[in-house]
């Protein structure tokens, strides 16, 4: 078969594939055959809108040939089949040494089709919102459960200095100045002074929305940095965790010691569960990333890091949402002065219980059924092996 015959035999398939790669063009070309879909109000509205626009022209120089394709062929076309056929055409064209320009045309087509065919997607038939829901109801808590040893480690690095600092400052009050400058301490005292009009970061409740934005910007940013610097063999995460632990501990210890605990503890109780856990999770993700380079196990260091990164970024994405929730609580609930301290304590404890049970139980059913399936498969495999032997 010479090149002209080859092109003649297969060009239609190439053109159809080209149309399938361009959804707008496909819609344009198959409009007449899909008139019934007009009944659906959304599609009708969409069509109205797209009708106003200029006619979409194909982007390739084969415009005329594409326009001449029959809509029935396009609707009937099966993308995976077509893609594999054209892959084969490309191989043929290469091995038969057809013209480089033909090969270029086919390879360009395959190039785009390959990206569409292997597009990372949602689970089949699931919308973006659906996969987001799956992520937070199942994947995120499951991942954290699987990686709980990193969470324990980062919690230790974070909470131990925090508690130590609180205790030390009760014994030696001046110890606070070892981690904070006198100015910072004075500013902090002014914020939580029970005689002051506003508690918590000197402001009135009208600036809640401003503080909401600020907490998102600042706290989530800290979380992201805690995670990212973990790539440096975990050093960055360890440092940030410890630093934040010492600082928060110093603040809490000092304010309690000078008798401002009555304003400080109710303020922080509401968002503490979300915020502290989110920091610990960011640290855990960073530590996992960094330690994969230090202790790669049976993998190469790079492979271990790749695998760890895939998992830790999931933890970080979940932690980001927790930072958002914490920011919301801190800005709109914690700062409210009309709510009694006891109620704030109760809500705070409830939040801790919610966070704890979320990570302990969410998505466990699916996990178990998955495990059961796996073990069933293994059993059946083993059974087969036994039979064979």
């Amino acid at each position: 078969m010479n090149q002209a015959q080859f092109i003649h035999a297969h060009e239609q398939q190439w053109l159809i594939l080209e149309v399938l790669l361009n959804p707008q063009l496909k819609q344009e070309l198959t409009q007449e055959l899909t008139q019934e879909s007009k009944k659906h109000w959304f599609k009708a509205w969409h069509k109205k809108r797209s009708g106003r626009k200029k006619k979409i022209t194909p982007t390739s120089p084969n415009e005329e040939k594409i326009m001449a394709l029959s809509p029935a062929l396009i609707i009937k076309a099966d993308f995976p089949d077509l893609y594999r056929d054209v892959c084969q055409h490309l191989s043929l064209a290469q091995s038969r040494r057809y013209s480089p320009y033909l090969i270029e045309r086919l390879s360009f087509l395959i190039d785009r089709a390959h990206q569409v065919f292997y597009r990372p997607g949602h689970i089949h038939g699931q919308s973006a919102a659906g996969s987001l829901l799956t992520f937070f109801t199942r994947i995120f808590p499951q991942t954290v459960r699987n990686e709980s040893h990193w969470l324990w480690l980062s919690s230790a690095v974070f909470y131990l200095p925090l508690l130590l600092m609180i205790v030390l400052i009760q014994l030696w009050p001046e110890f606070v100045y070892s981690v904070m400058s006198p100015d910072t301490v004075a500013g902090m005292e002014a914020m939580y002074d029970p005689q002051a009009e506003h508690i918590g970061r000197e402001r009135g409740s009208d600036s809640d929305s401003k503080m909401f934005g600020f907490y998102i910007f600042n706290n989530t940013g800290i979380g992201f940095r805690t995670f990212a610097t973990g790539l440096l063999f975990g050093i960055g995460s360890l440092f940030t965790l410890m630093f934040n632990g010492l600082h928060i501990g110093a603040a809490a210890g000092h304010l309690t010691q000078i008798g401002y605990g009555g304003t400080f503890w109710p303020f922080v109780s509401g968002h503490s569960a979300m915020e502290l856990t989110a920091i610990a999770l960011s640290g855990a993700a960073g530590l996992k990333l960094g330690f994969s380079l230090l202790i790669p196990g049976r993998k190469s260091r790079y492979q271990a890091m790749l695998d760890a990164a895939k998992i830790s970024v999931k933890i970080m994405a979940g932690a980001a949402l927790m930072f958002f929730i914490a920011a919301f609580i801190e800005a709109f609930w914690s700062s409210s002065q009309s709510i009694a301290a006891n109620i704030k304590y109760i809500v705070g404890i409830a939040m801790w219980l919610i966070v704890f049970s979320y990570f302990a139980f969410a998505g466990q059913q699916q996990e178990n059924s998955l495990n059961v399936k796996k073990s069933e498969q293994e059993n059946s495999l083993n059974g087969k092996k036994m039979d064979e032997s």
């Binding site: 390739s60 893609y83 013209s99 395959i110 390959h114 292997y118 597009r119 934005g213 940013g221 610097t229």
Partner: protein, 259 residues
Amino acid sequence: MSLVGNTIENAGPEMLDTVKIAETPEGVALKLTCVSFYARSIAWMIDALIQGAVIILLLFVLPGLGDFGMGLLFIVMFFLHWLYPVFFEVYFQGQTPGKKLMKIQVLLIDGTMVNWGASLLRNLLRTVDFLPFFYALGVVTMLMSRDFRRLGDLAANTIVVYKRELKEKIISQQDAVEAAVYAPKVALTGKEQQTIISYAERRNDFSPERAEELALLAIPLMDNLPVPNQQRANNQPAELASQGSERLLGIAAYLMGRR
């Protein structure tokens, strides 16, 4: 990004090149042309300018809305700083506006589109690439790695490549070789055949003199052609001037299957 013409033939000693080859499950070899540090930094600068411009614009508008506006400003700053590249990379074929202007895109190492996880990862790890000052670590890693990947790219297994574009003339010239078909005197290897076909397809890019000059390199393939013995093209009579290229086009037509 493009495909390798013929992997087996090109599998010589590894060339000092910025090309990375990824193979698809169908056995097609994808050629990824890695983007150097220079083009990437220009793209980054364009993005930084866009981000800066948006923030400056909002600085004029939002404080007018009071504290609510300030809160909004902080949130916009957060999303611009951390998620702007992620959004564009996931929804616009791996291209932020800056990358689009530079005609480059982010892909996974196997040549497929970048996904949420990989994009988020490579952009969060920007923080490390930025250390200790102004992307110093990122630049060092980029220059040290074979495919110009910074730490974020290495961890997310992504690569920044030139987005492939199809030139229009490729199609229009495809079957336009119109010369008297002429069988070559000797059997040609695959590479030689491809060279001659390439010549035929690119002949309109040369001046006639240059086309003739190139064609005469292949004189052993053509018998009966009066060899221009020390003659220069401008001394020849006009009808002889393009004889060599005509003949070579004939061979190309033969190789492309015309008889």
